[in-house]
Symmetry: C2
Subunit: 230 residues, 2 copies
DNA sequence: TCAAAAGTGTTCTCCCTACACCCATGG
DNA sequence: CCATGGGTGTAGGGAGAACACTTTTGA
């Protein structure tokens, strides 16, 4: 018999965090999911997350759970919505603060510690537990919103990349197609990209310049507020 | 001796809502605050809010508390951040979901039921309880963000108004000045305003047309997504 | 007769869009 | 020699910003 030592005058909900983690690889936007081993929703997939401890903020909790369950760490993690439908968890009242996180898949390969964690393409999402399908839709919406105001590529791209690669990231996230030349002009115009000496041969046809993000310019623009039209 | 009948295996935080309520009157953006009658922070001012019940979502809780504590109801209320610093409440662990609400002050005058509730101009905010000063700053930021994508005037303006009045609302919220003619052109261009037959004499100098919002056009634009540049 | 408020229109400029040309490589 | 991919430049259109004229009233 388990002991219940924490007693209150009024009923208290549980508070959890859930992390919608986006990555980018092979020209595809991907999401990290964990297969549930326990009821309810056993065998279904869900976002990593867990209970918030009494001595940590929800941000700290989200980062901790992310690390514990997947081994991943990230610079970009932010809350985007609090899910609080009284019936959202069949066991008990659980209020969950959902986070949007971005990771560089190029750096963390094999970093998905949990054996039951897997990256999914957006068009191959399996059935999700709880209200996590709605969570995913809202996270994606938030990501698309964010991309207009912040050069999120910073967090999803490898250190060095070609303009084409960056364009494909934007196209994957927004699900649109851009004109090659206009896209380059627009990105270079903000001065947040540094053209490197280095080149690569993305195809055997022709070599392409590599670029890196200019963190200083980026931080400067983040302060002023900047708007990227698409 | 009070009884504590709700027991859990692990400690649970309390979950509350807080409402940052904006109104607009006398060419000023205003915020509704309630004076605290109890410790902690007795005598300090705070946003209306309270504990979330077990059978309601945070949205429902926020609306309920708003109604209970101020008598106000609103169409526009949305969460904007979850405040969760473990130390934010000196009594116990309290996680609060903060809401942004807009009310038409022209319709609710005298509607502040609570004797200890008062509207404050933004430049006359008294000392606030808990982390509510940070809450206010973030709410204001969110409001300014929102105004670029939604004709929030709907919720803050009276039914009928002049272009000048609408302009002054935008100027009050964003703390900038606009060219009279360009502002009118921009607003009319979206087709969300209906020019009425009616006129008023805002000054004894000359009469001005009254306008009302065109809800249909507004809903149409809200779906498509629209962007108001400033 | 003059100042103040409001209604209306024009021009300039810049940025976004669409689109074309050049060059190098591998087959 | 030609198809493919990538680097660069140009013309047109639309929307925002700057700006001027007219009308009406009260002092």
């Amino acid at each position: 018999m388990e002991e219940k030592n924490y007693c209150y005058k009024y009923p208290h909900p549980s508070v959890t965090t859930d992390c919608v983690i986006f990555g980018y690889e092979d020209m595809k936007l991907k999401v990290l999911l964990i297969e549930r081993g326990l009821e309810p929703y056993k065998g279904k997939w869900a976002f990593p997350g867990g209970f918030v401890k009494m001595d940590e903020s929800v941000e700290e909790g989200a980062r901790r759970e992310l690390k514990e369950e997947t081994g991943l760490e990230t610079n970009m993690i932010e809350q985007f919505y609090c899910f609080s439908d009284p019936q959202r968890d069949p066991r008990e009242r659980v209020i969950s603060v959902a986070f949007l996180a971005l990771v560089k898949m190029s750096e963390v390969h094999g970093g998905d510690d949990a054996a039951n964690a897997r990256w999914f393409n957006l068009d191959e999402i399996p059935q999700l537990a709880f209200d996590h399908d709605r969570m995913l839709r809202m996270a994606l919406q938030k990501l698309r919103e964010r991309i207009h105001f912040r050069p999120i590529g910073f967090e999803l791209m490898p250190e060095k990349f070609t303009l084409k690669q960056l364009q494909m990231l934007y196209e994957a996230i927004l699900d649109v197609r851009f004109d090659r030349r206009n896209f380059a002009k627009k990105m270079l115009h903000f001065d947040i990209l540094t053209q490197l000496e280095e080149t690569v041969w993305p195809t055997p046809k022709r070599e392409a310049y590599l670029y890196s993000f200019n963190k200083e310019k980026y931080d400067e623009l983040k302060q002023k507020g900047f708007r990227l039209e698409f």
